[in-house]
């Protein structure tokens, strides 16, 4: 139940942040309202910074170095923050990435998705891109023909963040259906390529995995 509450908190926070173009400051206001609503747990509690906070779990955000490490692990070491588009995007957004793990004080949380974008794009380049050699998505094939491989790619990436729960838990069918829906929607546009579809799956899986688990 706690995990569901955490996931729902993130779902409420991020749409607000993106819709207003604001940083996590607004989302932190939402978190603060929820905190007050859930208060009266262990009254008089003192957290290290002197604030009186009644938490509902270890909600935290990844700092810059944490986000980088998570993305590397999520993509099984296929990307290097010192090379390619991953490096270039990191150079652009590094100063904006979260500097603290406290979600009420962190900003730049949304910048991690740009980092993910850069890392994912490194998997689509070259004559035999990694999207093909590791994930089985044929670069020059159609989205329809690559659907199974695309969905499997998304599941495989999510498995790296969830220690296999994506593909081996009661939620497996629903997770697979979510990726299927994404691939179908991308494929509905005739001009979209398998590279675009792979990028969509990769960005979705790695943004969710690195930043939306609540810790």
């Amino acid at each position: 139940m706690k995990n569901l509450k955490l996931a729902k908190l993130m779902c409420l926070a991020l749409p607000m942040a993106i819709a207003t173009g604001c940083s996590m400051d607004q989302a932190s206001n939402l978190a603060g309202l929820m905190r007050n609503n859930n208060n009266n747990q262990g009254g008089g509690a003192v957290v290290g910074n002197g604030a009186t906070v009644s938490g509902t779990g270890a909600l935290s955000v990844p700092t810059a170095n944490a986000a980088i490490a998570r993305i590397q692990n999520g993509l099984e070491g296929s990307v290097n923050p010192m090379a390619g588009n991953f490096q270039r995007s990191l150079a652009q957004v590094r100063t904006n990435l979260p500097k603290v793990s406290d979600p009420t004080q962190a900003s730049g949380y949304d910048q991690v998705q740009l980092l993910v974008y850069g890392a994912c794009s490194d998997l689509t380049t070259g004559n035999t891109p990694i999207m093909q050699s590791r994930y089985g998505v044929t670069a020059n094939g159609t989205i329809a023909a690559n659907t199974t491989a695309l969905v499997n790619a998304g599941m495989r990436m999510m498995d790296q963040y969830t220690a296999g729960l994506a593909s081996a838990s009661p939620a497996t069918d629903a997770a697979r259906a979510a990726f299927q829906s994404l691939v179908s929607r991308v494929g509905a546009t005739a001009t979209n390529t398998s590279r675009i579809a792979f990028m969509s799956v990769c960005i979705a899986a790695n943004t969710a995995g690195s930043t939306l688990l609540g810790f």
């Binding site: 957290v47 938490g55 935290s60 490490a69 939620a171 810790f215």
Partner: protein
């Protein structure tokens, strides 16, 4: 905007689906989720789930030993490379801000004290401010200063395998590398092997009067701020000589925060460690960290930041015009680097608040560092810092913090482990963090 929101909602759907597990699901799913939380907060997520350490963590959680699972993560090289390293970089400045900091001898020392070192070197919080050693990276069999590594080499470092080298080195005023005398060794505080290394020594001893140095020591170690330890009962003799006694705000009586409260009674007092760092240390852009065994009058920072005025400040003739900015009643910093914390802080209750059990008087930075490592407050502040990193939204009572800190305090009534990993494991496995 609609496309952006729908994409985000999709992302949320994925994460919600993964974790919307009913509480009646088999325990191993919940154990895995808890292990993921521990791993992400302690190692930043750098521990791959394919690593056997993670599997062992999940098994420990399933067996009911969450603290043991957290300890597995804390004892790994991933903790050393992420959280230990982050905490170390924060300690290079009084703001405890890791942003912009880089790996250097000082951070390497702290990491070794947090995570252990090669050859079975044990972690040790208590010796952070006093151990006379330098820690280097074993680069193909060659002990190498960490600041010499390129990005690729840095990414490959096993931060639990740093190599210990006895002693610390510093430059003298002729830019010659010499051993820093043991009396003046301050653990990580006095480690710096090059200019512009973003070390604490650079932060504290660059230009100015070195007040930043001693204030930074107290602030980073205890979490206290200047006004927390100011004292109205300070003596004018304990105010550094470069503070103008004739300033109308120098003394109490006007309802204003008086200079003497901090400069005479607080962190900046000549008695509270300033004498241990003021005149013997400097840090320059060209030569880096410098130790001056016998500073001339115009080299003594305790006489002000302007080298051209230090002779005047030392003389402090208030009759001459223009009037020298100085305190004629100051005893100045002791030539033997003496410090006495009891003169003011015992009566004002600061020592009690710090849980001070070590020496209250001494000479030199090393003796002060040893005593600092014996105080209760440094373990409590480290616990608060770990909470801020690992469980920022958690709920910890004052007694929780005291208990966790005591478990790592070797000077507690039941000797603790002297190991920050104990703190990390206990914080991460706290009920409010799960």
């Amino acid at each position: 905007m609609r496309r952006g929101i729908s994409s985000v909602l999709f992302l949320c759907a994925i994460s919600t689906v993964i974790f919307s597990t009913d509480t009646s699901v088999a325990a191993d799913v919940n154990s895995t989720v808890i292990a993921l939380r521990l791993s992400n907060t302690i190692t930043g997520g750098s521990l791959p789930v394919s690593d056997p350490i993670f599997t062992n963590m999940a098994n420990r959680v399933q067996a009911g030993d969450i603290q043991g699972a957290a300890a597995l993560a804390a004892n790994s090289k991933y903790f050393a490379g992420y959280l230990a390293r982050r905490l170390a970089m924060q300690m290079q400045n009084a703001a405890l801000d890791a942003f912009g900091m880089t790996d250097n001898d000082s951070t390497a020392f702290i990491i070794a004290k947090f995570a252990g070192s090669a050859g079975g070197g044990r972690p040790s919080i208590s010796s952070l401010w006093s151990d006379n050693a330098t820690y280097l990276v074993d680069l193909a069999g060659v002990p190498t200063h960490v600041a010499s590594l390129n990005a690729t080499q840095l990414a490959a470092v096993d931060w639990t395998a740093l190599v210990r080298q006895e002693g610390q080195q510093v430059k003298d005023t002729q830019n010659v590398v010499i051993p820093l005398p043991a009396k003046h060794v301050g653990g990580y505080l006095t480690l710096s092997d090059r200019p512009n290394d973003n070390s604490f020594a650079m932060y504290g001893a660059t230009a100015g009067t070195n007040l930043r140095f001693i204030e930074g020591i107290w602030e980073t170690a205890t979490g206290l701020e200047l006004m927390n330890v100011a004292s109205k009962s300070a003596r004018v003799q304990d105010v550094p000589r470069f503070i103008p006694e004739y300033d109308p705000n120098f003394f109490n009586g006007q309802g204003q925060p008086a200079c003497i409260a901090c400069h005479g009674g607080g962190m900046a007092s000549v008695n509270h460690g300033y004498a241990a760092v003021a005149d013997i240390f400097d840090f320059t852009n060209n030569n880096g960290f410098i130790y001056n065994a016998a500073p001339a009058t115009n080299q003594r920072k305790s006489l002000g930041s302007n080298a051209g005025q230090r002779n005047n400040v030392n003389t402090c003739n208030l009759v001459q015009r223009p009037t020298t900015v100085c305190n004629p009643d100051s005893v100045g910093v002791d030539a033997n680097q003496s410090w006495d914390l009891a003169a003011t802080w015992e009566a004002s209750g600061v020592l009690s608040r710090m849980g001070w059990t070590g020496a209250k008087q001494g000479q030199g930075l090393n003796a002060l560092g040893v005593a600092l490592g014996q105080s209760k407050i440094v373990y409590e502040f480290l616990t608060e810092r770990v909470i801020g990193e690992v469980c920022p939204m958690g709920s910890f009572s004052a007694s929780d913090i005291a208990s966790i800190a005591a478990s790592a305090n070797p000077n507690a009534s039941t000797p603790g482990t002297d190991d920050i990993r104990t703190i990390v494991a206990r914080v991460a496995s706290h009920a409010s963090c799960l």
